[in-house]
């Protein structure tokens, strides 16, 4: 019996070496981050001189900015007609985001399964990753421009742009989620004779459901913001109205529209955040758009 106990202690004797290794690699990473930060700071300061940033603070330019704002922007235009237009356009942006997020999600799911390294062989996943990355490299504004050229002005083109862009981004979020799933469930089901389709049905979707929902909500929030910008190229929504007010120098109406946009975005981000809290996904908050 005492032999057994002795044996057990030797069984786990190699665990110390692995922790030593870990702390070493972490230390070297922190060291590099220090240097990196100092170097980037120096670089940024040099670049700021090149752009003549200090000139902003010269007395003449500051005072001209202040007088321009105080004479043209304030007070905001609160007439009922202006507010009605803004509400209509704001709602249009939200509708565009809803439709765009919906179709973007539907299209991204099969693509992200095909792009996941742990679900597909490399010769399948690599081309789909490149496709998704390609979609992401084109900003949503440019997608909107492309669709406006193809299908004309209006919210339809904006919605298409949001759908395509959503597909590119959500697809990446999704395959990263899939690749983070533990391999043991896959191994267990494969050993029990499950097909690839069955592992996707019974492991991939149930195990990543929370993250997927959280990502979709985040994407909707993002699309409301992006949807406000793409209107500038005539793709409908509040952005269209913003660009209209700017080009006709109606700055007090512009301020009203911006306030509406600000409040809407804050409310949607708040509600989205609350909903996402119930579908916790620790990895997700680290991702940057």
């Amino acid at each position: 019996m005492s032999d057994d106990i002795q044996l057990k202690t030797t069984l786990h004797s190699d665990s110390t070496t692995s922790t030593e290794f870990n702390s070493k690699s972490i230390k070297s990473k922190i060291f590099r981050l220090d240097i990196l930060f100092i170097l980037t700071t120096i670089l940024v300061i040099i670049l700021m001189f090149e752009f003549k940033f200090l000139n902003i603070f010269s007395r003449s330019s500051l005072s001209s900015v202040i007088s321009f704002i105080s004479s043209n922007f304030w007070p905001p235009n609160t007439s009922e007609v202006v507010q009605q237009n803004i509400r209509y356009a704001m709602l249009e942006t939200i509708k565009m985001s809803l439709i765009g997020t919906y179709f973007g999600t539907l299209m991204s799911l099969p693509l992200s399964v095909l792009a996941a390294r742990n679900l597909m062989p490399n010769y399948v996943s690599t081309p789909f990753r490149i496709l998704l990355a390609g979609i992401r490299t084109v900003p949503s504004l440019i997608w909107a421009l492309i669709f406006v050229v193809l299908f004309g002005l209006g919210p339809r083109s904006g919605t298409l742009a949001l759908a395509i862009y959503t597909m590119g981004y959500l697809g990446k979020f999704q395959y990263e989620t899939f690749e983070g799933l533990s391999t043991e469930a896959f191994e267990a089901l494969k050993a029990h004779g499950a097909s690839r389709l069955q592992t996707i049905r019974f492991i991939v979707f149930p195990e990543s459901a929370n993250q997927l929902i959280s990502q979709v909500i985040f994407m909707f929030e993002y699309n409301v913001r992006a949807g406000s910008i793409i209107g500038f190229v005539g793709a409908g929504g509040i952005g269209f109205l913003l660009s209209f007010y700017i080009s006709y120098f109606q700055f007090s109406a512009l301020v009203t529209a911006l306030l509406y946009l600000l409040i809407t975005v804050i409310i949607i981000d708040y509600l989205g955040g609350k909903i996402r809290e119930t579908f916790q996904d620790e990895n997700f908050d680290k991702l940057e758009l």
């Binding site: 057994d4 044996l7 050993a191 004779g193 069955q198």
Partner: protein, 248 residues
Amino acid sequence: MATVDHSNNYIFLHDIHAGYKGIKILNNINLNIKKGSITAIIGPSGAGKTTLFKIILGLLRPSNGKITIDGVSPTVFNKKHGKIGYIPQNLGLIKNLTVKSNILLGALGRTSNIASLLNLFSIEDHEMCEEILNSLEIKSKENQKITSLSGGQKKRVAIARAFMNKPDLLIADEFLSELDDLNIKKVMNLVKNKAKETNMTVILVEHDIGTALKYTDQIVLVKDGEIKGVFESNQVEPSILDEVFYNE
């Protein structure tokens, strides 16, 4: 080392070398396992026990050497010849599904893609699942999510899922840890009866040498990716196993 009668080999490994991404883990593994026998693999952490299982399961391709189960390669065996029950070291349960759904997944191999996409399993499979739930005493938990179970209950779900596949070969990694003595006895008796009834072959990793000696026919000692000895369980003294460890 015991010489083995080759005509009786069910699982046969010859000069197996294997590793991950160029890192060598297993070296020159030669092993024979008879049909219907119960084998325990013992060895220190990191010895390569789980890696050896992955080779037998066909989840990892050896870089060198030959392995057959029932005369064919593991992947062919899994597809055509026989059924495998696998209990991974960390169980590999699907946390967001219920106990019952998890157990039914053991029947995926005999369920068509379309039926399984709709979550339709045969009536026989549902009945069999009930039976296993009862015999492992987790019936009351059947509609609970895996996350709400205790360690030992999770273990029993994984065992149930493996049984669900009507295995000819049961492979269990750290099978009995987290179970109390009474449950170890219950589960091992269940396994022994099944092995006798259906001529099922069992290979398990077990850290407790006493338990391994008590319930198995053969003990394989693995260390540093090599097999250091194969012993008949009823003929070996625990102290001899111990010695093999310390002499390295």
